[in-house]
Each structure stands twice: as C-alpha cells, then as structure tokens.
Amino acid sequence: MLPVLQRRAGLVAVALWTASLASAQLISRPIPPADAVERGKKEFVIQCASCHGADARGEDDGPDLVRSVIVLDDERGSLIGPVLRKGFPNEGMPGFDLSDAQIQDLSAFLRERTQAAINRNAYPLKDLLTGDAEAGAAFFNGAGRCNTCHSPTGDLAGLASRFQPAQLQTRFLYPRGGRGGTAKPTTATVTPRTGPTVSGTLEFIDDFTVVLRDTEGYNRSFSRDAVKVDIQDPLAAHAQLLKQYTDKNMHDVLAYLVTLK
C-alpha cells in the first residue's frame, strides 16, 4: 500500500514495519510489528512510565511523548536513541543504558501510541447503555410510534444477539443498508400525463429521470418533466424521528433494544 514510503526509508530496515489496509486513510506511516511494540511496552513500563505515564501521554514529572516532535520525527530510534542515552540532565531526565534493539522496541511502542491517537476510527466506544429500557419501551410504543412498523417479537426478535450496542445505535436511528438485508425497498408510483400509472421498486432517480422495476420485473424509465412521481420511502419515519428525538429518548430506545435478545 505504501511502496514509496518503504523505498524512501530503506528496504531492509522497514521491511517489518507494514502499512495497515484498514487504517490506510488515517495512518500514513508504516505500522510497527506487534512483537516489537509489546517488548517496547514492557521496557517503557519499567524505565519510563513513572515519569511519562504508562500510556506515554505524560504525567506531572514528564512530558507527553505521544505529541512530542522528537518522537514523531523519530525513525526506529534515530532521534530518541541519542536522547535516551544522554538524557536531559538539566531537566531531571537521566541517561539510560539501552541496547540498539531496546531503543528500536521503545520507538515501536511510541509509534503505536501515536498511531492509536491518530486512528480515530478505532477509538473504542463504550458505556453506550446509559438509558432507561422501560422508558425506551414506552417511547417505542408511544411517542416514537416505532410499533407501527416493528415488533419486538416479530422483525426485531433476537435483534440484540445480532448486533453490538454500537452497531444498534446507528442502525436504529437510520438503518442504512437495511435490517440485515431484509429492509423493504423504496417504491414509487409514476403518473404520466396520459396512460396508466406505473408502480414498482425505485431503481434510480435524479432531477431528470426516474427508473422503476415494475411488478413484472421490467425496468421502466421516464423523463421527470413528463410524469408525476410519488415516492414511498419505508425509512421516511426514521428520518422524521431524527428531528424529534431528545438524546434521552435515543439512549432509552437503545437500552430497550438491547433487551431484545
């Protein structure tokens, strides 16, 4: 994925530092190997954590290393090696007697720490379940009118065993991609100036053209300036509810949905 990076940094030295496909958009530098990170972490806890914190984000006695320019500009110990060996005696940091391998491991650990800060798409979501399940059920069956289309013993039965809370939260708000592939499609009815109306699944629409797949499976295309189009979007109520939810409603509904195991 990052051939140029590897070429620039030296083929042999960087061979073990790989790019992550999943994080490629956010992580633009090679990812250090996990075993080096693990060794570096152990070393860090022993030698560095008392001043810089176990997560390297700094404590009262030592600065944040995750955002340190020396750490960020470092390549496999090139900058932090000399600093570690000499220390900053005037600022209370002693020099350390470390091997090249130990320094490279520490460099790998610190790179892992910075990449954990950079890769926001991997920040863990937790403590999502703060709502009141009973209040959620009341909203589901009351103000939200969710029960107009859904049933806890019907289409939503076993919902919580299929999805984690983080998935459920975004999916119940607006089920982009459908409920496990069983979502009702958007349909439309087209009324020409003359001739019969045509109904079917909405295949495509823009300001100029509408394409339906009719009940017999044929694709039917119309210029929009010649027809009237009525769209029946089964998710319209979800979009409407976004304007209605308080954050409490939202948390309550999630708390209720996770009870549907």
Partner: protein, 529 residues
Amino acid sequence: MKKILLGALLCAGVLSAQALDPAKLLQPPTDSWPTYNGDYTGRRYSPLKQINQSNVGTLNLAWTRRFTAGGGRGGGGPVSIKATPLEVNGILYFAAPDNAWAVDARSGHELWHYTWETTGGLHIGNRGFGMYGDWLYFETPDCYLVSLDAKTGKLRWNHQIADVKQEYFCGPAPMVIKNHIITGVGGDSLDVPGYLESRDPETGALQWRWNTTPRPGEPGSETWPSRGSMEHGGGMTWHSGTYDPELNLYYFGTGNPNPVYAPQSRSGNNLYTCSIVALNPDTGKLVWYYQVSPHDSHDFDNVETPVLIDGEFKGQPRKMLAQAARNGYFVLLDRTNGKNLLTAPFVEALNWSKGLDADGRPIPNPDKEAKPDGTLVSPTEGGAANWFAPSFSPLTGLFYTHASESYGLDWKTDLSKTPEGYGGRNQTIWMQNLLQAIDYKTGKVVWSHRYPNQGGNRSGLLSTAGGLLFGGDPTSNVFAMDPVNGKMLWHAGLQSAVSNGPITFGLDGRQYLVVGAGDSLYAFTLPGH
C-alpha cells in the same frame, strides 16, 4: 498596485506569451480564470453571456479528457479532480495529490504531466494552483510547496511548509497576492498548531508566518486556559480565501480547535479557530477577526469561502463579506472592520447552537457536546456547507451554496483532563443535500432546491451574466439553473459526479464551460461558435 506588479514582473523578465498578466487578477474573469475562484472576490461570477438562458439548452460537449495519476501514492490509481483549473492564455492548469497537469483548453490535449514522489500524508485532495507570471505553485499531501515552470511543467524548487510526521497534510490552492505566495496547512490528528505562511515567488523564501492560535501573552491567549492548550489548539488553514486590493486585506477562514471532540482541556472561545480573519498580506498581521463558531466541539472548520460583496445594505452602500459556514449559519460582515451585519441559519434544525449573541455569533449548546453514550447533532461533521465553492451573482443579489440537512452521532472517547487528537468520534446518520439561494440583505433562503436523493456529492457553483447558475448534482449530472428561481434549464450526465467548481472563460470568441468530475475534465460550448 497594477503598475508595481507589472514592473516587478517585467524586471524579472518572466512575462511571456504564456505568462499570467497580473492585471488579470484584478478584473472579473472573462478570457482567463487565473485564480482558484476566478478573481479575488470569491464570487465565482462571470460577466460572460454568450451562453445564456436562450441557448443553454443546446450546449454541447466540446471535449473530455481522462487523467491517470503517475508516481507517488496515487501511482496509476484513480484521480479525483477537486482542483479548480486555472485557465491562462488558452491553457488549463490543475493538480491532484502528487500530480499536476497542463492541458490545451481548446482541445483537452495534455501538454505536460508532473508527478511528485511523496513521503506520505493524507491524500484527501488538492484544490489546485496559484500562478505568478510563468510560474505555478501547488501543495503536496506531504506538505511541500512546489513551484513549476508553466511552459514545461519542470520543477523550479520545492520547500517544506509543514512536517508530515506531525500529521500535517496540505492541499489548498496557494493564493497569489502581489509578490506573496500564501500557503495553508491541514491536519487534525495530533493537535498540531495551524498557521498561514507567505513565501517569495522567486525563491520560495519565507516572508511571514501567522499563527492561528496565540502564544502566551499575545492577544487572544485569554481565550485559552493554558500554554499547552493554545500550542496544541489546531486551527488549520486548509482553504484559500479572498482579497480586497483597496483595503489590502486577505480574508480566509480558520479550522476547528483541537482536541476536536473533547474540549475539556480548552475552556474559552479558542481564538482564532473557527473564525474569519483579515490579514495584511504584506506583513501577515491580523487586522480583524470574527469568530463564527466560538469554542467549537463539532469539527466545524470555518474555512468556507468568504465571498466579497459590494452592494447596498439597509439603504447604505457597503463593502461586505458573506460566508455560508459549515456550522449552518450565513454570516454577513462589514469587511472594512469585521463588524457583524447579519447572521441567519441557512438550513433547519441547527441543534448544536442555542441561538445568537449580541454580535451575531452562534452560541454553542453544551448539552450537544460529544458524550460517551453519544449525542445526536445537527448538522453532522461534514457540515451544512463545506469547502465546495459557493457563488454570488450581483444580478440577482443571491448567494448560492450547496448545503446539507444532516444528523450525526458525536461520541466522546477521551474523558481525561488532557485529551488528545480527536478525543471522540462521529458518524453521519442521515443527510439530505440542497442548493440554497440566500438573499444577502436578509439572510433568508429565497429558494431551495432539494435533490431527490439522500446524501451524495456536493459540487461547487458558478453564476454568469447569461442568467445561469452552473453546478453538479448528487448523482453525476452537470446542470444549469435559472438563478432567479432554481428552475433546471440544462443538464448532461457525466461518468461521475462533478467533483470541483465549474469555470467559464472565452477563447476565440467562444465561451467554454469546464467541469471536473472524478478523473476527467469536460468542456462544453455552444454549437456554431
């Protein structure tokens, strides 16, 4: 100023048949499109009217050309043309991350293709070139300012303008004002400080630097709780702005403060993030500022183009500046001093804000800050508006912008006293795209075009004296509307959605419309011309 500029260029011996005459920078665009926005006003309004309401329905494809990336990260990969091409003396110049091209404007024939060997950085997009005489300037994702010879596409020099290892990345079109090449930077991942720099067009030497966030003791530092918070406070400068030659002020918008979604370590308004600022381009000194999103915690970069409007307001002629901000508010300022004239929402349901203060500034709603269990925020991270170019037509007095109504979830993931990076996450839940026509005198949306699709592309816009408003829709059409009422007058389906802002120019008595869509440029003209 015109004389001084011409003199400087002639002395340098760079004014050639292909060179940009600096006088063009001070005129409405007709036979050239010499800057990102066509001229310094940011209006993206062309006085050309060969293509007009009576004949736009016959607009024809003159040529289309597909471009393939070479070298760098994008080697052979897909190109997305977010750059607005410059058109100077019959040649189009545009860039994409690590790639730049010159193309004959009459035929689409490729004249040269330059590739940059990257060292990394986020390859989100490149907005294109700035031009000075025979010389071109663009920024690379790994934050080099690269100058090319417009004749050959050969490298003149490059200068690093930010450290990619600190997670800066770069892509705005450099702004050329007199003998200043003004560059900006991006990057939100590690709480680096934002700044704007001016460099010498001949050598690339630094002329001045303006820091978005103050240092301890400087004005504005009272809006941050600590040295660390302002030094790590963000405020990126990732989009080019506008310029008033009479006032000699450069206007641009600044990005969001950092950490993005976890503001607990940066109590206060966090100047000069999420602001419109006016700098003296000769010195880099701040002349005035207006903060559109005080203490932002929703990633509402305020970099949207500050459009310069000369016209009447409440019966008085005024020099004004208008912006449709990412946070969903339309703001009209007196651009001589930054005083607020008007603020009004241009989409519905801006739940992140509790209303406006006495100076017209939106007041954030602390209840809608990100929380561990999520808050439902409107608009979502992508904003009610964003970088795509708006347009202002002096004929209609309307400000046009693509916009979105949207909802998203904001989660705070870093609850520590000293959060880092984003400190939280966002997920867009739902988005509906619109084209809004705003009366600058009232802030009211006079007409609104609601696309029949959810989500999708939002393009830049162009208005002309031909009574036309050009843009791209969320699917893959380029269109012309009646700017008075939004009625569709012409469209053409392209291979992909319009990914930049349309431009127009005249060559040989023929008016061209050029748009970028994905990896291709498309040029349209009238038959018989």
